[in-house]
């Protein structure tokens, strides 16, 4: 009797599981709201891009996409949440440079993003800009480099191992100059001290300083991408202005837990491509300092692997490993 009951219960459970698994199949994906995890608190650059992207993805998929902020531990918490989720396509991650390719070199991660996550598609690329304030009245990159060779310059960053920090590290290594790092908690307070003349310069996201550049409070010397930035047409790239080969950018992509069903993945990649083709989306990306950048599947994975190697060398040379 007991065995029968147990078998009966097991059977019912199995049937229920099978039934509940059905809606997860791709033909009717998504049949329930999709959660898009952002590893930062609401209000930051990644969050802004994720929220605009979520509204577009919603249209493309024809189902709800909810942004969930899971900030903490240098954005490693968000990675972990998605790494541990079921690979059914209902929990996705907006991954970016820091947690995906820099953090593996700095922290002892419980889940290596390259192994625990499935890259779906890259969404956007946001370059940074080198700005100087009243403490360092130089007008061009060559003047800047001369100054930096004559005396040790002080730079503020949005935080230890942030995009703003590692991009400056690479700059120092490329130019062969020794720079002094002052970490802040976020770009805001750092820009404040740059405007106040307490630090010399900063490499930061375009939206955080574009108003101050346009009004002349800060001077933009170079952008860090491979091409000039549309909203700052007169500002040369670092590569153009003497730092040959230098490029650094914060990028954003869509990832899911390892083992996403192939058709779900295809549907998501298609949805991303659809969003990136929308001029309104491109316009709002530009306001957040980004340009669309669509790499799908393996191409995105290869890009991340290359980035990981590149930033690994930068971080290693600067010796900023934790533990």
């Amino acid at each position: 009797m007991l065995t029968f009951t147990r078998r009966f219960v097991l059977g019912v459970t199995a049937a229920t599981l099978a039934l509940s698994a059905l809606p997860a199949m791709a033909q009717d994906y998504p049949s329930k709201p999709v959660t898009l995890v952002v590893s930062y608190a609401a209000g930051g650059g990644t969050d802004a891009i994720a929220r605009v992207f979520a509204t577009r993805l919603e249209k493309a998929l024809g189902g709800r996409v909810i942004v969930e902020n899971r900030p903490g531990a240098a954005a490693n918490i968000g990675t972990e949440v998605v790494a541990k989720a079921d690979p059914d396509g209902y929990t996705l991650l907006i991954g970016n440079q820091g947690p995906m390719v820099v953090n593996p070199h700095i922290f002892n991660l419980r889940h290596d993003p390259a192994e625990a996550l499935d890259p779906v598609a890259m969404i956007a690329d946001a370059q940074l800009v080198l700005v100087v304030g009243p403490r360092l009245p130089v007008k061009s990159m060559s003047e800047f480099l001369d100054k930096a060779k004559a005396q040790q310059l002080i730079y503020g960053s949005a935080g230890n191992a942030s995009a703003s920090h590692v991009a400056t590290l690479l700059m120092g290594q490329t130019a062969g100059i020794d720079l002094k790092h002052v970490p802040y908690k976020g770009a805001g307070p750092a820009v404040n001290d740059l405007v106040g003349g307490h630090v010399d310069f900063m490499v930061t996201t375009v939206p955080s300083v574009i108003g101050l550049i346009q009004n002349g409070t800060l001077t933009a010397l170079a952008v860090t991408g491979k091409e000039r930035f549309a909203a700052l047409p007169d500002v040369p790239t670092a590569d153009e202005s003497g730092l040959t080969g230098y490029s650094a950018s914060a990028w954003y992509g869509l990832l899911g837990p390892k083992g996403l069903p192939e058709d779900v993945r295809a549907k998501l990649a298609e949805g991303t491509a659809e969003a990136l083709a929308d001029p309104a989306f491109i316009e709002s990306l530009q306001k957040d300092g980004g340009v669309p950048s669509n790499l799908v599947g393996q191409d995105f994975a290869d890009f991340m692997a290359a980035e990981r190697t590149r930033w690994g060398e930068v971080v290693k040379a600067a010796d900023i490993k934790v533990e």
Partner: protein
């Protein structure tokens, strides 16, 4: 001067359209409600509403978000006074005497003074923004890491004055608060400190978890352990609104608080949190009955509340003139501006004067709205105290848990607050005060951050704090205040009060 009036006129003409008044009202109402709910702060609310603002026009959207911000500041004080749960750092001070007043049956008076004080402060701060935004911006920029550090030292000295019991215990609490603020990853190296390998401590202790735990849950444990005291409080309700005479008595405190708040609000990195603490210390220093502070003095509510609101308002200055957000709520406002295609920064005032001045004028309208919304609500809030405690406390716990969970969508914060609640209860039993601990905690973070930044810039030389005149001045003020605090005569009177307790 005439220019200022012209500007405000333009602003009022923008803000007084039916649509914008409606958004202002809506923002203030939502803000008050989320402020009253413990733990559900303006950051969560604004980030949820951010996509909604896309479909509104820029001015209306920003007016609504600004309304949520100062509405929440005000609503938070209500919870602090009624149930002793400060949802934000700035409400910690309000809770000290405000809740004591509520226990004495003066909840209506405390809430009324808070509302009227906030309105006066808000009106003044609006004028400050309109007339002095540019010079005030320069003041904020003078504060580099070294100056900021000295300001924090001064703030910690003020914290000693906050305590009404033993000086030694107050100092111990401040140090404990500073130590608690050091938990988590080191800002320079990322190395974990005092986390015991626990994942939830990597980013340090959230202020909301600390406040909910030590004040909120601690208070509940206290009331459950001591039902008699609680019922005494429940019996009395008292008058709802302050009389004219009571108001006149508090006008000085309101004016001083407004001044302090207006100046401190401009400082980068959320200097506004110092404002209510500074106001409390000032009121206590100049009062002829300092020994009553901590037992329900109206000035100790009116002053800090005014300071809090003035600071909340002038902290818009760096955002408006430089596009730099001093705190998380302001960062969201920047996000809202960018969604609307407005680049935050100095050019907003020239490129979109109607938006700039409309927003400034709406702040004043918003403050008026808050009085209109909140004065009638006082009756409702006070009746809340009549709800039997066995029904009230599970509701408070439930709301706290929701708020705590919403910080990072993670149950870890709820657990942390639970543990801190036990600590709060232990502190109460051992007669330690929690307010200096909270201040030490809040200032400790900035203290460490600014100390290290200043020392990196100066190559490790401590003289950097003395060579800057501003920094030196602040340290001297702190030293004078400390000397007064430890003078034998004063210490004796402190000990007497302590014995009385």
């Amino acid at each position: 001067m005439i220019e200022t009036i012209e500007h405000l006129g333009l602003g009022l003409s923008v803000a007084f359209t039916l649509q914008n008044v409606f958004f202002c009202f809506l923002g203030c109402l939502i803000g008050t409600l989320v402020g009253v709910l413990p733990g559900v702060g303006p950051v969560a609310t604004i980030s949820i509403l951010l996509p909604v603002t896309l479909s509104l026009d820029p001015t209306g959207a920003l007016i609504m978000l600004a309304g949520i911000y100062y509405g929440a500041q005000y609503g938070g004080s209500t919870t602090a006074i009624l149930v002793n749960i400060p949802g934000e750092a700035t409400a910690v001070v309000t809770a000290i005497d405000g809740h004591e007043m509520a226990k004495k049956g003066q909840a209506g008076l405390a809430l009324g003074l808070a509302a009227i004080g906030s309105f006066i402060a808000g009106t003044f701060a609006t004028i400050v923004i309109a007339a002095l935004a540019t010079p005030m911006t320069k003041l904020g920029l003078l504060f580099g890491p070294a100056e900021y550090f000295s300001l924090m030292i001064m703030g910690l000295v003020l914290a000693v004055v906050l305590a009404h019991g033993s000086l030694t215990k107050a100092l111990a609490m401040i140090v404990a608060g500073v130590l608690l603020s050091c938990v988590g990853a080191d800002m320079e190296t990322g190395r974990e400190r005092m986390t015991f390998g626990l994942h939830m401590l990597t980013d340090g202790i959230e202020f909301v978890a600390l406040a909910m735990g030590i004040f909120g849950f601690g208070e509940i444990f206290k009331n459950l352990a001591d039902p008699e005291k609680r019922d005494v409080m429940r019996g009395k309700i008292g008058r709802l609104l302050p009389t004219f005479g009571e108001l006149r008595h508090n006008l000085g405190a309101i004016a001083r608080g407004t001044g302090l708040g207006s100046v401190l609000g401009v400082l980068p990195g959320n200097g506004a949190i110092l404002a209510p603490f500074a106001s409390y210390a000032l009121e206590k220093r100049i009062s002829d009955r300092p020994q009553d502070f901590g037992k329900g003095v109206p000035q100790a509510v009116a002053g800090p509340e005014s300071a809090n609101n003035a600071g909340a308002q002038t902290s818009f200055i760096p955002l408006l003139t430089l596009g730099l957000p001093p705190n998380a709520v302001m960062a969201l406002m920047v996000g809202a501006m960018m969604i609307q295609g407005i680049v935050p920064g100095p050019q907003v005032i020239e490129n979109s004067p109607d938006l700039f001045w409309g927003l400034v004028a709406s702040m004043w309208i918003g403050n008026l709205m808050l009085v209109v919304i909140n004065l009638p609500l006082i009756g409702v809030w006070v009746k809340l105290l009549k709800v039997p405690y066995r029904l009230l406390f599970p509701a408070i716990v439930a709301f706290c848990c929701i708020g705590l969970f919403s910080i990072s969508n993670d149950p870890a914060q709820v657990m942390m607050a639970g543990v801190l609640g036990l600590l709060g209860f232990a502190l109460y039993k051992l007669q330690f005060e929690a307010a200096p601990l909270a201040l030490g905690f809040v200032l400790g973070r900035l203290l460490e951050e600014k100390l290290r930044q200043a020392l990196i810039i100066s190559d490790g030389s401590m003289t950097t704090f003395l060579t800057s005149p501003l920094s030196l001045g602040l340290l001297l003020v702190g030293a004078v205040a400390l000397t007064i605090a430890v003078l034998p005569s004063i210490r004796r009177s402190r000990d007497e009060i302590f014995v009385e307790d």
